[in-house]
């Protein structure tokens, strides 16, 4: 109990909340199992095939499935927030020295940290079963690119947690999760979509998350457009999140 600065409190609250999130085994299995199984299935089907642009199909799918699992984990933070709000824990927190901004940052950090199992396990499966061969630097760069690209989804989790209630947060999360995954081309390549759907796909953050990951894994550097779109989504969702948080505080 020595460090009492807001930064120390934010870190402490983020760590405790992350530990609690990791206690929820059911949630971890769900966000990891489906993308991992799908990846293993695809990896067997498409092993050794080339996707063009210096990318194997398996590496392409590895990035897609890791993104898919991570988006689910990040968005799921919203469910926990909604439960904590319902039991009145957020009122109790407002009676602590933790400022509201620190609380939001801590919850976003939690979202980022709970994505790690899906990211690491799908990549591990890629390296072993999938036979994806990358240099250590490329693995790190790809992992980091996908992980940092998840920031807008972490913020989206907060928005859902403050906009929804315990009853609505599950369906909202599910629809957002599956909607973004499918529309963003994580399940099927966007090129297979009809023209108008392709246009819509390019508005989603999930499309650009996958684009970021695939470009980096193909060793073609960091795509500026993807970074800008993801940053734009982060700003917009951040503003909505702060608004939803303030609004949730005046209710109860």
């Amino acid at each position: 109990m020595t460090a009492t600065t807001p930064v120390a409190m934010t870190a402490r609250y983020a760590l405790i909340s992350t530990r609690l999130a990791y206690r929820n085994v059911r949630f971890l299995v769900l966000t990891v199992a489906l993308p991992l199984l799908l990846f293993l299935l695809y990896a067997n089907l498409y092993r050794g095939q080339d996707a063009g642009d210096g990318l194997t199909v398996v590496a392409y799918l590895m990035v897609s499935m890791a993104s898919f699992g991570c988006i689910g984990a990040a968005i799921n933070t919203g469910a926990r927030i909604a439960i904590e709000r319902q039991v009145g824990w957020n009122r109790q927190l407002r009676l602590s020295a933790l400022p509201g901004s620190s609380y939001l940052v801590a919850k976003a950090i939690v979202s980022m940290l709970v994505t790690l199992p899906a990211l690491i396990l799908v990549f591990l499966a890629g390296a072993t079963v999938g036979g994806v061969q990358l240099s250590a630097g490329q693995w790190l760069a790809t992992g980091l690119a996908v992980w940092l690209g998840l920031i807008p989804f972490a913020v989206l989790g907060l928005v859902i947690g403050f906009a929804g209630s315990v009853d609505t947060v599950q369906p909202i999360s599910m629809i957002t999760y599956l909607g973004l995954s499918i529309l963003g081309g994580l399940w099927f390549p966007v090129e297979a979509f009809p023209e108008f759907l392709q246009q819509i796909a390019k508005l989603t953050p999930s499309y650009w998350l996958a684009d970021l990951g695939r470009t980096v894994v193909a060793g073609q550097g960091v795509p500026t457009e993807a970074v800008l779109v993801l940053a734009g989504w982060t700003l917009v969702l951040g503003a909505v999140g702060v608004w939803a948080y303030r609004r949730s505080g005046t209710k109860v």
């Binding site: 600065t5 807001p6 409190m9 405790i16 439960i83 009145g88 824990w89 009122r91 109790q92």
Partner: protein
């Protein structure tokens, strides 16, 4: 950021001025003024819907008043809370699921600037024996004690308790108040809301009666008792309905006790004449001087008439 705010120039622990709050058509708080000096133990007494919880929420900075101002130790509530000078026990809820009692108290201590040792807070609140239990497995009374530990752990100068004994049985309630006494002996300021008159009378230096969103009386338990001329008529009245008796002139409320009817009156003379005229079968009649219960009922009844007029 780390320096303690200086107490207000008037040295007040709590200063509420002209508070008003509406929720749609409900005028929950209508003009509450209150000054509490450091070291006072004050009870907020009132029936459900009197505005106790809303006033407490405003005092803690959880709800914004439509009008009026709150100063705690000379600063705004959020500053006072963030500097760790205020600990509060909210009504119901407020326990994080999936953690043990000890983890919860430790975590909350970690979110304050100068907390007391977790062990001390848990001992004071009497939750040491359930330290390893998950929060969702607690009984109502145990959960209340954990909330009390959360209120104590910031090591606050002002403790605010919203109906602290609501879910407790008699024995737990007794031990709760004895740990409260330990805490107030150290000179802290306490404000607690209750609708138990006995609690207000026994544990508070000062009782502030709230009805219809306004303060209708403010003083020691004894002062409030003597300020109203309440008396109780007690009698055995066979074959009389409670409704008929409660409607007698001069009667504010009614209780049954061991076969006897207790009529709480603001004018026992008128009530007695009406009782004898209407229910000649009444016998074994006794008239007793008022207690706090009668005073309370009369205050509420009077304030209700004021509001209706």
């Amino acid at each position: 950021m780390t320096t303690k705010p200086i107490p207000g120039p008037d040295g007040a622990a709590v200063r509420l001025t002209g508070l008003h709050k509406r929720f749609g058509p409900v005028h929950a708080v209508r003009g509450v003024d209150l000054l509490i000096v450091p070291g006072e133990v004050v009870a907020f007494l009132g029936p459900n819907g009197a505005g106790k919880s809303t006033t407490i929420d405003i005092l803690l900075g959880l709800t914004r008043p439509d009008a009026g101002s709150v100063r705690l130790f000379g600063t705004d509530p959020v500053t006072a809370v963030q500097s760790g000078r205020v600990g509060a026990m909210l009504q119901a809820g407020a326990l994080l699921p999936d953690v043990t009692v000890k983890e919860l108290v430790t975590m909350f201590a970690g979110l304050h600037r100068h907390p007391m040792p977790v062990g001390t807070a848990m001992e004071l609140a009497g939750v040491t024996d359930i330290a390893g239990r998950r929060t969702q497995k607690l009984s109502g009374g145990q959960a209340q004690r954990v909330r009390f530990a959360l209120a104590l752990v910031p090591d606050p100068d002002l403790l605010v308790l919203d109906e602290p004994t609501a879910a407790m049985d008699v024995e737990v309630r007794r031990s709760f108040w004895s740990s409260m006494r330990e805490f107030t002996a150290t000179g802290r300021t306490v404000l607690f809301a209750t609708h138990y008159l006995q609690e207000a009378d026994q544990f508070a230096d000062r009782v502030v009666v709230l009805a219809g969103g306004a303060v209708v009386a403010d003083g020691t338990g004894a002062q409030i008792k003597s300020s109203v001329a309440g008396r109780t008529i007690s009698a055995v009245i066979d074959a009389a309905t409670a409704d008929d008796l409660a409607r007698l002139p001069g009667v504010l409320g009614l209780d049954r006790q061991a076969g006897r009817i207790l009529l709480h009156c603001n004018d026992s003379d008128i009530a007695l004449r009406a009782l004898l005229a209407g229910f000649p079968q009444a016998h074994d009649i006794e008239i007793a001087a008022g207690n706090l219960e009668d005073a309370f009922l009369e205050l509420i009844a009077t304030s209700r008439q004021d509001i209706e007029q």
